[in-house]
Amino acid sequence: MGAGDGAIVGVTKIVDNGPDARRYNVVVVGDGYQAGQLAQFANDAQSIANTLAATAPFDRLMPAINIHRLDCTSTDSGADDPAACGGSGAAPRTFFDARFCNSGIRRLLIVDSARVVQAVNAQVPPWHAILVIVNSNVYGGSGGAIGVYSLAPGADEIALHEMGHSAFGLADEYDYWAGCGVDTDRNNHPPGEPGQPNVTLDSNRATNKWRDLIAAATPMPTMANPDCTQCDRRPSPVPAGTVGAFEGAHYYHCGAYRPEYDCRMRALGQPFCAVCERVIERALQPFLPNRQLVSLNQAAWVPGSTTYRFGFRSIPNIPITGEPADADAERWAMLHDGSVYRLYAFKRGSNDRIYQFGFNGASYAFGHRSIPELRLIDFPADTDASSFAMLHDGSNYRLYLRRAGDPRTLHQAAWVPGTGTYRFGFRSIPRIPVTGFPADTDWNRWGMLHDGSRYRFYAFKAGTDTRFYQGAFNPGAGEYQFGFQSINELQLVGTPANSDTREMALLHDGANYRFYFQTR
């Protein structure tokens, strides 16, 4: 059973909220589906997508999520269900070798997880979570690197619980190990605060790790177990949804606390508690798209320093007006051409169309003194269009993308005068290396400008929103070099709280170096 017992058919993106490089990617894989059952698998995959979209907090985070369906056929239908565990004795040949009765437990349903990961690595490289649906009506599932569940009613709850572990680092909140009345060594939690965000040993209102969610009127601890030899199965003393400290968590009857009386990390079929919801929300924040171009916060370099200060020699905040409904606010760039400050944004869903805005004295207005829509042509197939930079060097408008999988290689284009086209390689070195930048360079947040004498390249220092690195083009070497004719590291000061730090843009207007964040 295994690789010879089926084939990978292909991938379909069933929830598409934008480029995979910018979204949280869930991959739904099927096992035990014969070729003639792939339509059924499509329905089953859509069902878990619908469940996710209807489950808090994912219901309000879906714009951050893409869901992919990996179609695989199996020679036979179903999963191994050994008679030794009371099963049917079925032993179908399936591609990922799904089988019940692992470790002697019938409901413990696993697949060849290494083969699943290998397949998903190849088919959807930027994956974050993998869920495997096994085509069987016997209840079962498992967790670990991937979530596995069957088609039995309620089994999709296993997928949600396991995502809590594998994708968001949540702890189990139940107060037993093998079961209430079964355990004899689970009375008191050992010392040492658990690292996970949803269990704690600390019931002190002033220091508890989710104290900001606890109402002043809620007793602390909210519920204490009077008999540490047993699970505490009394009803909650406070209304459902109250956040406090409920004793009994992390596999122990006493000494550890959970945030609410119930939670999906305590029992299947329950909603996530408020603390778990918040953890999931925070984790998915980097994947949420900007909904629209609203305005820009502007900073300028303070001469003689290593600092860009927001509001310095700048209009602090500049509105963006008239943007097309399908302007992609995550892929934008800016330049100054000696006359006009310009803003560009990709057309959403396109890798070869950009919209142009011009500053009219009050706002960046779509089409102001601009060709409203421009086209990118002749870029090689290995171009990454998930971000871009632009500059004007006194002679040419230039646009830069990067090589897919290699952010250290720029693909350069220039505007073809008299047209609405940027052509790869036109009046340009087609490919330019970027070298020497520190190991902790955040290549996802970068920008470029030309200051009248140098072409410059910037990228954030990983893990910070206030420090970024600088390099410049060395004509002798034909590459952008870290620190070449540059202050190596620059600092942002006074960043407004409403700044969206996920992307940046820079330009030089003949007098000042300027830096921009969009507002949230």
Binding site: R22, Y24, S103, P125, C180, T200, Y251, P286, G405, A439
Partner: protein, 136 residues
Amino acid sequence: MRRLTFTYRDGKIELVSQQQVEMRVPATAPAPRAAAAAPPEFWYELRDAESELLYRLEAEDPIPTDVEVFSDDPERTIERAPNPPEEGVFTVLLPDFENAREIKLMRAAAPRDAKARAAKPEVVEVARFNLTEGSR
């Protein structure tokens, strides 16, 4: 980012693939590293050719010592059982540093015996892989 994929079987870990991938990673929850905090149970160390630490990532121990079992009985929907499968897979996403040469998998081996849990955990190197030449 660079995704490393490992498999394990009967306690032996292998690095089976490295993949450069353009993707974002989830934001991490604020780490509650209070004085009384338990040490991390597992972490990855990315090191350069001189064995200087480039990056460290704390994580759950990817090799389970027990297993979660689910039930449709509403009174006991989840429980744990010993003897997890002896083989499996895990992955980790790390920054794609061009000077990274080695990945170390480290574990703070807390005693399993409840009476001995107060003792200081012993740090052990679980595995080490040269990212340019394969495992050793």
